[in-house]
């Protein structure tokens, strides 16, 4: 099939950027979307032009590197599918495709379709873990975890950190990302000790990074290639309220 692409080209953070038009001929329906871009890039390099910069790595939908707006939709038209797993059988001969980077204040564009998502790492660093020193763990079967809890924690833990939720949200909120980690760790017994501090710290960091807040549009869960549910945001909010109101242990011996 033949396609017309309009691709966002931006040489660096300070370049205003613009769409460039490219014709993609001889596209096979068995190609992945990124393989289609590879073919376009090979041609561009052949012509001495700079190829379109885009992030990708595993190309099997798990590393979370790839991500772009395809006709205004994060990762393109197929639900529960990353751009690398999207295949050209989802398009038709003659289609025009508009390709843009994630758009969010907290995800500045570095080049073309490449954005800076390091805010996600800082949210995790603020509390998205269970503090367990290597070597200090009890036997793996010492703490039984009911299968339902383990499965629910797993569902939340499948987030790949791609940023589609932020790109889809009219507020550019990263609440789906943040809540998935909060919900994962709040649903296992090992995560209870730090449960309340964790949610407070992660939400603080989320806000400080410049992500917007959640106003329940639900666009994030539609865009999420891993099917992370917006229910986790409700769970985060419940934990956040309890954490804010909770009675803290009395700290003895402090000077008044």
């Amino acid at each position: 099939m033949k396609l017309t692409l309009h691709v966002w080209r931006q040489s660096g953070p300070n370049d205003p950027g613009r769409h460039e038009r490219y014709e993609a001929d001889d596209v096979s329906e068995h190609m992945s979307f990124l393989e289609m871009l590879d073919v376009v890039n090979e041609r561009l390099v052949g012509q001495g032009e700079e190829p379109i910069a885009f992030e990708h790595d595993c190309r099997e939908g798990i590393c979370g590197s790839c991500g772009m707006m395809i006709n205004g939709v994060p990762h393109g038209p197929k639900t529960l599918t990353t751009a690398c797993q999207l295949h050209m059988r989802s398009f038709r001969d003659g289609d025009e495709i508009w390709i843009d980077p994630w758009r969010a204040t907290a995800f500045p564009v570095l080049k073309d379709l490449v954005v800076d998502r390091s805010g996600f790492d800082r949210i995790i660093a603020s509390g998205g873990y269970i503090s367990v020193r290597t070597g200090s763990a009890p036997d793996g079967n010492a703490i039984p975890v009911p299968k339902d809890n383990a499965d629910a924690a797993f569902d939340a833990a499948t987030c790949i950190g791609c940023g589609a939720c932020v790109a889809a949200c009219p507020n550019a909120s990263a609440m789906l990302f943040t809540s998935a980690k909060v919900a994962h760790l709040a649903q296992v017994p090992q995560g209870q000790a730090e449960r309340w501090d964790r949610v407070l710290a992660m939400v603080d960091r989320h806000d400080a990074e410049g992500f917007g807040n959640c106003t329940n549009h639900g666009a994030c869960q539609t865009a999420c290639p891993k099917g992370i549910s917006i229910d986790y945001i409700a769970q985060l909010n419940r934990d956040l309220i309890r954490a804010t109101l909770r009675a803290r242990p009395v700290e003895a011996g402090r000077d008044a």
């Binding site: 561009l44 790595d57 190309r59 979370g64 290597t134 797993f154 760790l185 995560g191």
Partner: protein, 637 residues
Amino acid sequence: MQLNSNVPSGPIAEKWDKHRFDMKLVNPANKRKYDVIIVGTGLAGASAAATMGELGYNVKAFTYHDSARRAHSIAAQGGINAAKNYQNDGDSVFRLFYDTVKGGDFRSREANVYRLAQISLNIIDQAVAQGVPFAREYGGLLANRSFGGAQVSRTFYARGQTGQQLLLGAYQALERQVGAGTVELSTRHEMMDVIVVDGVARGIVTRDLVSGGIESFTADAVVLATGGYSNVFFLSTNAKHCNVTATWRAHRRGAGFANPCYTQIHPTCIPPSGEYQSKLTLMSESLRNDGRIWVPKDAGDTRRARDIPEGERDYYLERFYPSFGNLSPRDIASRRAKEMVDSGHGVGELKNGVYLDFKDAIARLGRDAISERYGNLFEMYQKITGESPYETPMRIYPAPHYTMGGLWVDYDLMTNVPGLFAIGEANFSDHGANRLGASALMQGLADGYFVIPLTIGNYLARVPKKPIPTDHAAVKDTEREVKEKLDSLMAVNGSRTVDSFHIELGRLMWNACGMERSREGLEDALRRIPELREEFWRDVRVPGSAADLNQSLEKAGRVADFMEFAEVMCHDALTRDESCGAHYRVEHTTEDGEARRDDENFAHAAVWEFRGVGEAPVRHEEALVFENVQLSTRSYK
């Protein structure tokens, strides 16, 4: 080249304990005075950085990804082995050790493997405590499944995303240390070279992949956790960016490269669909627990799978290997699949695959049970091929997947260059000539959480503390060489793309040094690789600038190193004049087509010394001594 494995004396079960007592320790208050560089943030690198940060070392970690969570460990599907014996089915540390040595076709170092089996117990505990959501039974206890090459159920798993969950556990532990300030993490920084001062590794030179800036970092020790080199074949199951550059650069600086020809072909990947194919997707080996592999008995049968009656199907693995059947080890399953396709029994449009059929398992266990076990794999398969494995059998074919070879290391995981360590897939130590399924995650985490954090202290406590200023001559020289190489790549300005060279090299390597190797094919490859490399340096085109985010330049540097590395791989395959594990020389087979080892002449690790590009490398040997496992012919019949 001095190769002293430094294996502790004493009975194998006591070596690690004894060594931990004999090792020198760094006093807790002194640890923060030591700088340790860790390159790579996959399972091995992230777990090492997190643990050394906790211990108090001053850790500088580097990844070329935008986040530590992207490393290719994330894509491991099936599981992680541990000798917990929770199933009470006869497992033990010794059995895991034995299976791993046997699975590696008696080409690994006993002491390292035994330690790995011992530590496997701690890894599961550690991951559970971090909140890794392993699969559980209804009683709330951990579930297990069986895996190729083992007759016990010792594999722990998190649906088909075990690598993801374990990596996120290690990544979160790492980010915790970043938050605590013990680890300084540089993302989007690619290691370009190792800085060696007076024969000792003292730092690295990196390229900032956003600004193009070349920077040097010095330290008291350097740890490479940079994965494997399957992408030398271009088409492999590895992520697109996986490369040999870090270990190859270390090799050029004097580190021995051990057994580069040991590359594993994974039996269950989705066959290519056309010329534009950019990588191959693995379908977890765990599928072989419930799937049955078959081809039509009649070569040239073009009927759809469902139209081929039971009597006209050849379940060849069950036929050849009645006791292991569909769970026979990877190398054997791969070669048999190739044999079927080569003899015209292949299936699919391009007749380039074999069937992996779940019909019987679905009838026996129900669709829900199968979906619970493999749901995400089935979805992934359907996304790529447009076919549902619930309705029609999967098509699979072998693909390069994991590399057992790597930098030579001693028992402390140190290379022959003092101060330079290699962990995880980047070293050669534990899997011999073939790795068993669910053992890569185990090794990465064993090295990172439990081995290197201790053994590095044993090194640091013995060497004098002497800081290296970043304007030291060795630092400046290395920086200059890195810049010169980048400039010369930019300056070629030829007519061919980097990928076109990589594809050509990959095809050459797959044909000559892939699933089957022959003297003739390898000698031919050794003539053609230098020609291709010469053409690369004469005609490659790298657009853009070196002082910018330039993905073509990144690729060019990595392919340039593959062009050098491919040669030593072929030298290794040629001089290892036997078959063993995944290294299959057509000249050395048994009557029924299995690998035939030559223990008298080849019970050693081959360790290569670099002598210059285009110069013949020098082969050294580390003899492998088997005191606890009887050398025998692998039989899975």
